[in-house]
Amino acid sequence: MSLVSLDEVHKYYGENHVLKGVDLRVNAGEVVSIIGRSGSGKSTLLRCLNGLEEYQQGAVIVDNQSVENDDYKLRLLSRSVGMVFQNFNLFPHMTVGENVMLATKLVLKKSVTESRQLAEELLAKVGLADKFDAYPGNLSGGQQQRVAIARSLAMSPKVLLCDEITSALDPELVGEVLKVLEQLKEEGMTLILVTHEMNFARDVGDRVVFMNQGKVWETGPSDEVFANPQTDELKSFLAAVR
């Protein structure tokens, strides 16, 4: 049984038919990168996986839970699915440590000591052990994004969704964030990444999903898809981004 499965998922924004029957399966431990033109529905697809967006038709199942528009179920789902955003969305009025600790305290009901210890471990893991008491506003973009990753990991999710998490960063800061993702992959974390970093998709992703016109247009093992794209659309997309 796949960790994540989408079956014939359709999503409309009013009249705008954004996802037109998306089928996708992701197994535990897999790293899947989603690529495609702007507006092809990549973010929407990701947001349907954790209930940030409702879909109108089809089925989304993550970690044996059906993703439905129900506050209680979505809160349960949040323990299985983590998300990292393009612009971090850290809580600016809290320190880095508090950002990472809050969910374990409030949602998992862990003690302060336990939450703190976990937060320290996670911050050390993303290379920010010394920033526990700093405020997000005083960190670089790359550091903020690593805090955001640590914050998601605190809920020990089964799958981590990343929506262009390096796009808001200065080029020299991209590497430190990608390094954390690589490290997570080595530890066996399931990752679904919407990305414009084709090299990273090819080198780290096990599988690539090319979205076009609201559909999974082409998919396959990363090296094959990049070396030998089948459809004209993917060929022209790859030619354009290279």
Binding site: R75, F91, G137
Partner: protein, 216 residues
């Protein structure tokens, strides 16, 4: 005829200014409390509640405060409820300021990036947890300066309570002038006293605003 020295004039105005200050404080507290309740109700995003509150705000922001005072004072007595000037003044100023406070605070909540709500949802916070730990603390910081700023409007608004016979600073000024016939002197003093009350508030609001900019 009684003789008023300048000191008598000032002393009487100062005594009346106490009522201006007290009325302002009560309106601030009442309006703040009621505005807070409206803001929390509104944030539940129930369409019906939102509509009702929107109408409420439109009415109290769209009708001059003077008319609101008249309507409360004379309208309630028409309904058989006798209200004294005190009650009418407090009631109208409370309703008036609650509409503005609500609008200020709602604006601050809506000014927070959508991403803050989304991050909370992906972390599994309940609505109440999201409000309590993430939204309210940030919105509160933003709202301090405009809230203090609006309190200046409340102070000035209390002057209108003079028309329903409430003896505060403005009314006292009118009464004293009727006795001494020195309108410029009397009303200059009245103006000065309002300024003395309001100026520190304006300065405070500006200070808080600049401080907010630095920390963000």
């Amino acid at each position: 005829m009684v003789q008023f020295t300048d000191w008598d004039i000032l002393k009487n105005l100062l005594l009346a200014a106490r009522w201006t200050i007290l009325l302002s404080l009560l309106a601030f507290a009442g309006g703040g409390l009621f505005g807070l309740i409206l803001t929390l109700l509104r944030s539940m995003r129930n369409t019906f509640i939102t509509r009702v509150i929107q109408c409420y705000v439109e009415v109290f922001q769209g009708v001059p405060l003077l008319m609101q005072l008249f309507l409360t004072f004379f309208g309630l007595s028409l309904l058989g409820i006798e209200v004294d000037a005190w009650t009418a003044a407090i009631l109208s100023l409370t309703l008036f300021s609650s509409a503005f406070f609500h609008d200020i605070w709602r604006g601050c909540i809506e000014a927070l990036p959508k991403g803050q709500w989304e991050a909370c949802r992906t972390l599994g916070f309940t609505y109440m947890q999201t409000m309590r730990y993430i939204i309210v603390p940030q919105a509160m910081r933003m709202s301090i300066a405009p809230t203090v700023g609006f309190s200046v409007q409340i102070v000035k608004g209390t002057a209108l309570a003079s028309v329903i016979g409430f003896v505060e600073l403005t009314k006292a000024g009118t009464m004293i002038n009727n006795a001494v016939f020195e309108p410029f002197k009397v009303f200059a003093l009245v103006a000065l006293l309002y300024f003395v009350i309001c100026f520190p508030l304006s300065v405070l609001a500006r200070y808080l605003e600049s401080k907010n900019h630095v920390t963000r």
